[in-house]
């Protein structure tokens, strides 16, 4: 369960197996149906780029969900980051200062989420529902209920493929973050503590795990990653948009859970979350390429979420 299986390599036992199978099946289907457009390498590159925001946020959400929490404020955090950075840039700050400030602000918001669940002991759902609303308001207020149109000074290079390559730097950033996240989760004490708290908080406390500190760190990490996702979003939008990313939280949570995590904590994997995030993009892109109407696309997305989850149940049952 915890990614520490030391026995033989049995991929069908892994959390990311069901979503990966679903992904391949869906991908193959779309390639079959639209080989000339969907099957092109540049389309793959585009889809990878479109996934970066959700993927980066999903890495943070994986930690939060494994730890037994949830973060509904991630969409608002992403929007707030685009606004803060655009606002700073407009004020004439240098790019690094603006970026760091943006990330620092949402990291602090994440830490506050963590404080709410620990010091005030309110359920994470409610704490982050509250901060989702508050941060959305803050973003709108800071931006004067408008898009902030600043010169983003080359930030868009993050999501623009270089002259001689296919993939923009942002995709590599996301991959790097995912790898670092996976290492943190599986090979450090902090990561094991995250699993332990999600699995049984009382036990973890009894074992001397610094439960409060770990939780706050996890939420702060989630915030920091939402901040980086926000930078990608700003690089894409080129304006600071306070209404941006409404509902992103559900996409991110869906990606993580489709990727095999359990909302009751103690289970989940970063690989699975990435696969889940990419699966969503594939469905969306494939539907557009086939000219499938929006409403069918909605229904397909839902059906595929359910299929992946049902496949995952099957894995769990057979591993008993």
């Amino acid at each position: 369960m915890s990614g520490l299986s030391l026995g033989g390599f049995r991929p069908w036992r892994r959390a990311w197996f069901a979503p990966l199978v679903t992904l391949f099946a869906v991908y193959a289907l779309f390639v079959f149906l639209a080989p000339e457009t969907f099957g092109r390498a540049v389309n793959l590159a585009t889809m990878l780029r479109q996934t970066t925001v959700v993927a980066i946020a999903a890495v943070g959400m994986t930690f939060i969900i494994i730890q037994g929490g949830i973060d509904l404020s991630v969409g608002s955090m992403v929007a707030l980051t685009t606004v803060v950075v655009a606002w700073k840039l407009k004020q004439g700050s240098s790019v690094p200062v603006a970026l760091l400030l943006g990330i620092a602000v949402v990291t602090a918001c994440g830490a506050l989420n963590g404080l709410g669940t620990t010091a005030l002991r309110i359920t994470p759902f409610i704490v982050t529902l509250g901060s989702m609303t508050i941060l959305r308001g803050a973003a709108k207020g800071l931006a004067n209920e408008q898009k902030i149109d600043a010169d983003i000074r080359g930030l868009d290079a993050l999501v623009t493929p270089p002259e001689n390559g296919l993939l923009p730097p942002g995709v590599y950033v996301a991959l790097g973050i995912a790898l670092a996240g996976a290492a943190l989760l599986h090979y450090t004490r902090f990561g094991r503590h995250v699993f332990a708290i999600g699995s049984n908080e009382a036990t973890a406390r009894l074992c001397g795990v610094p439960v409060e500190r770990t939780k706050i760190l996890v939420y702060a990490l989630g915030g920091a990653l939402a901040g980086i996702a926000g930078l990608m979003e700003l690089a894409t939008l080129t304006v600071g948009d306070p209404t941006d990313s409404e509902g992103l939280e559900l996409q991110v949570i869906a990606a993580v859970v489709v990727g095999g995590a359990s909302l009751s904590g103690g289970e989940g994997s970063i690989g699975g979350a990435l696969v889940g995030a990419f699966l969503m993009t594939v469905i969306k892109t494939g539907c557009t390429h086939l000219g499938i109407p929006n409403w069918v696309q909605h229904m397909l997305t839902g059906a595929i979420i359910l299929t992946a989850a049902a496949l995952d149940r099957f894995r769990r049952r057979s591993s008993r």
Binding site: S2, L4, L6, H186, Y187, T188, G191, F195, N200, R320
Partner: protein, 484 residues
Amino acid sequence: MRTRLAVSGLAKTFGATRALVRVDLEVHAGEVHAVLGENGAGKSTLMGVLGGVLAADTGTVLLDGEPFRPRSPGAARDAGVSVVHQELAICPHLSVEDNLVLGREPTRFGLVDRKAVRATAEKALREVLGTAASRIDPASAAGSLSVADQQLVEIARALAVPGTRVLVLDEPTSSLAKDDAERLFVLVRALAERGLAVLYVSHFLDEVRRLCDRYTVLRDGITVGSGAIADVGNDDLVAQMAGDRSRRTTARAGDEKPSARTLGDVVLTASHLAGTRLPSDVSFELRRGEILGIAGLVGSGRTELLRAVFGLDAVRSGTLDARAPMGMLSEDRKGEGIALALSVADNVTLSRMPAVVLPGAQRRATEARIDELFIKATPEQSALELSGGNQQKVALARLLHQGADVLLLDEPTRGVDVSSKAEILALLERLAAGGKAIVMVSSQFAELVHACDRVAVLRRGVLGPARPVAERTEAMLLEEASAP
């Protein structure tokens, strides 16, 4: 005598684990039948099959000559088999009385008949608790009761089912105090007299000897022996359970006396410690190399004493001087003891980990503990898949791995089989000899007398003086604990 329940050739596998291989069992009406075996032998799995929780792979069960294959716990109960499972089954948010009638709520005009609920609840509690029934308020939330009282509520629930033909009790006394257990024995005998067949799982051989008529021993999922209790000695039973496994070093029984140990400096001092509710006045001093036992009745606040000392509960007044790191083992195995979803390796090493965790090293450390405590598990197995006794051992292994100098143990041997219990007590001896200081709470006063250097009695939150164990017997402890 009439055969009430006949089990033959029963097998059950969980993935690759063969929990039951070939179980045969015959229980007569009117008898109390002991089911014995080491941790992980398959006792609870068998009870699960009888109770309709698990479906057997092969084999047959006959109930009064009729094939019996319950498809759900409800069906088993309706067919006359009611079960008290090893793991606590309580809805913490519901009141005690709602728990007692759960699944069989009496109704009037389609609405729950509160009066009938209350009457049923009070009757059931009185049956199990006798005059002590007043200590449980039927209207209070079940989650606020102590583990022992929750266990009693569960027993009362099973007994309250009308039309029961077979009563299954899976380690009912593992968290009960002496007087509650005694009352239960009387009750069980009376039920058997009335013609019920009772299946009784326990690791306490004395108890089994007093209560049961016949026995069946399971080893690794196979019936290896059965007969009348009166015909076998305890050693014989233990040998049947352990089989040819040579790990039992009975030779160690020789070096058990604590006299050889030298006491070190004081590491823990409590003076007039009081928690928010319990305990109310606790003073003691603990040295390295010493095992201090705490005896007391259920509800005397032993658990809360340990929690207050460890810092889990708030301290209202008094002082506590801890000069060495502490580790604690909870009596609530599922709630605080282990993380069920994690692997055995993660559970064991959780309390002390390097900043970077290497799977190989983690496995090696775990394997050492598995050998030390005879845990029937592999490091990568999920703790969920272990038998109750093995889970308890994992919790203990975790504490040992932590390596704290002061160990606070709340019912450390709960649910552990006979041979392992001796091993664990011997291990505690060795730890103390190695310079650790141990506080041990146990409802088994005999165990305290056996393992501790000094024992103190906790009565209604007030801790008496700790006296050397040489001056005390089980009976004296009981007398002091239950003095008015």
